[in-house]
Amino acid sequence: MTLFSVTRKNIQGNFKNYLIYFLSMIFSVVIYYTFVSLQYSEEIQKSIQSWETMRSIFVQASIMLILFVTVFILYSNAFFTKKRKKEVGLYSLLGVRKKTIGKMLFYENLIMGAIAVLIGVLLGTLLSKLFTMMLLKLLSSTINVSFSISFEAVLNTLIVFSIIILFTSIQANRLIYRFKLIELFHAEQEGEQVAKASVGAAAGSIILIAFSYWIVFHPITEQQLVQLSLVLFGIVAGTYLLFRSLIVYLLRASQKNKSRYYRGMNLIGTTQLIYRFKGNARTLTMISLLSSVTLCAISVGYGGYYNIEKTARNWSPFSYSYISKNEVFDHQADQIILEDKEHPVQGKLDISVIQVNGDISDLEYVPYGYAAKSVPTRLIAVSTYNQIAKVLNREENLRLSGNEAAAIRPWQDNTFSDYVGHTITLKLSEENHSIKFVKMFEERVLGWVSPDIYVVVSDRLYTDIAKQVKPFVYQAYKVKNEKSTIETAKKLEKLLAKDTELSTFYTMYTKELESSGIDIFLLGFLGLVFLAATGSIIYFKQLNEAYSDQERYQILRKIGVSKREVLTTLSKQTLFVFLLPLVVGILHCTIILKAIFGVNLAEKTIMIPIFMVMAAYVIIYLGYYVLTVKSSNNIVNK
């Protein structure tokens, strides 16, 4: 029997282990190569106007990917190695020289790595075309994507992976020297020390996490960096202690409840978990932190993307609106809009507006470039406002009388101040007229102009002022499917002159789309990779456990535990291991979102996308759970 045939037999025998390791390497290469080739893609560079700033974002993201890919490969390598320690021990026992074994392991890893890189680059080429198309679509670019292998991307990938693979190969080579024979045979017993749960550490974890959450809401220092570091330190250390001590402590405490503990499989489940937690504290910490980073990243990206429509609608509440100049143009525009059968008109309004100068010094907000004493202010009659609200599906039945007025928050007002109770003075030619705000709207009604002060006044006041200042009229249309009104929007732009303040929802929407397209793409890409990583890491981990638990479950089967009972306890244990880091991750993510982005968690428009991201994440994550339970069950319940 030559060493070669032994090796071949071993690969056949351990095919599953090899496959898992090999696939993880391919996965890493595919991800990395795909991303890097996006970075070098000319099509993308052409489609992004501010490429220079974008490039640095891409580079940062690719550094994160390198870190991630390294950890991931090292992780699956460790998993693979652990499975093979006995085999290596046997070679040694059979008298194969250490040097030969070392060499064999070295070349084996190297060759597997090389093949993985080759396959990875090929798959990555296909994938990168797909992703390029996706990105260009997000950017609404019309450039065609060609099939090409980017030389720079290949080189970049080669360098990164050569280093990683060389490192793991050397580690594989050292394996035989690093351990005594007996240790190689007892590989599975490693890290199985009973977890000690010190009350101090358990309490410490709660204190650390609570502390960092607390300072998120009550900053203790002005310095952002110090503040952020404190929060991060608290969260990371607290989470680690949580998994290392608190959970074990709680599980131990649950053992005290004898009648529950000594019931059915609880005894087995609880002790198994306690046993596992200490050895897995680092992994679980990593997973819950990865989860929260991923969730944050996608939430932010998706939040922006989700709110594009809202933002665009605030820029341009109507599908089309412009200031009427003469009947001929109005008629032509009307024709264009009516001809567009794909976008039937849902509502059309003539909106009469008066512009006067106003003294708004009583308000917190002053438009940029204006003095508060004299700011162009636009007035709308309350009956007109109610018509608008109806067409725009806003439930408002506003009533105003005398000097009462309603404010509409200007687009650039970030003061969050309430205008109600404040007064402004309208400067009319005959006399000045003070009006008092009794109501405030956050949603705007007409296309954006600068300055952007719209005030709703009573019909009576409006007619009075109209006698002094001539109103002008907006033609405003609301059509169905306004996101795709590209042709009509273009035609209107051609037809109507600049000073008509033409505003189309479509234009605003596409503009927003482009700017958040790249964000969501990058964050989504990283998020996806991280999700795959977290899922795979737990999957490996659990499979690994399943292998070392095999014998225990066989014993249980022999003393009369049914397969179903084994499956049940296995599902419960696995759920615990999956759910805990996820719940902790979601909690952290919520707080981090608050800390970094000052997200107002009560606001619906932000909560919905975050909730959706979390739901999607949980669903995919649960997919991993089901897969893990199935695979583990196959291992222990044969």
Binding site: K86, L90, G264, I268, I555, G560
Partner: protein
């Protein structure tokens, strides 16, 4: 009353070459009996035990335990049957290293949802009897091989099974520990009328039995009774083994 009846039992391992591991085995074990099974390596001892233990299914023939045929039960019922009617002692102790000695012992009771009080009572009783009541809180890697095997025995008898099956219970023990374990089994057999079927290659261990059944190449070869004198019985067993020939000792294979 016979606790175990084995009737025309046959086991063929299918494979590239079908192998008849057991051929027309008939015997029965009475309540309170302590029976040994011996034979050369590969003669089918473990196979026999596995069939009785419902871990494997016979190709033909019937096994009745307490008048019931476990092989006609469905999977769930089989598990329950194993749990209630059988107790196991293995060469490799088969204790869970995640549990303490106490937890290992009460495991069969927890599976059946016994009350804590009952559990405690039974635990006290068996551990006193087996002399392991002082190590209850220890973990399995903190105790000696003999203690481990006695723990395994305690687990196998705590739920008062109809039949205790032991496969090479002294296989991993030195002679002093072997003696302890065999005396323990003898004691529970005598005092609690436990019925025991034990596979062994160790003539010393076998000499504690009332009766030893010899099998060779899957067939019943002979059967000898102890009578009064253990020393004489031991000698008879040695003679029979010599007659049987073959390698009596199971090779401890390198297990990968």
């Amino acid at each position: 009353m016979s606790i175990l009846t084995v009737d025309h039992l046959e086991k063929i391992y299918e494979g590239k070459v079908a192998h008849k591991a057991l051929d027309n085995i008939n015997f029965s074990v009475e309540k309170g009996e302590f029976v040994g099974v011996m034979g050369p390596s590969g003669s089918g001892k473990t196979t026999l035990l596995n069939l009785i233990a419902t871990i494997d299914r016979p190709t033909a023939g019937e096994i009745l335990i307490n008048g019931k045929n476990p092989h006609v039960l469905n999977r769930k019922e089989t598990a329950l049957f194993r749990r209630h009617e059988l107790g196991f002692v293995f060469q490799h102790f088969n204790l869970l290293d995640t549990l303490t000695v106490e937890e290992n012992i009460v495991l069969p009771l927890t599976l059946d949802g016994e009350s804590i009080k009952e559990m405690d009572k039974k635990l006290q009783y068996v551990t006193k009897k087996l002399g392991i009541d002082s190590i209850l809180k220890k973990r399995t890697y903190e105790i000696s091989g003999g203690q481990m095997q006695r723990t395994a025995i305690a687990r196998s008898i705590i739920h008062k099974p109809s039949l205790i099956l032991a496969d090479e219970p002294t296989g991993n023990l030195d002679s002093k520990a072997s003696k302890d374990v065999m005396e323990t089994i003898t004691a529970i057999n005598k005092e609690d009328q436990a019925t025991v079927l034990m596979v062994t290659h160790d003539p010393f261990a076998a000499s504690y039995c009332h009766r030893v059944i010899f099998i060779k190449d899957g067939q019943l070869y002979n059967e000898i009774y102890r009578g009064e004198n253990r020393q004489a019985f031991f000698q008879k067993i040695m003679d029979m083994l010599a007659l049987l020939g073959g390698d009596n000792r199971d090779l401890s294979t390198v297990r990968l």
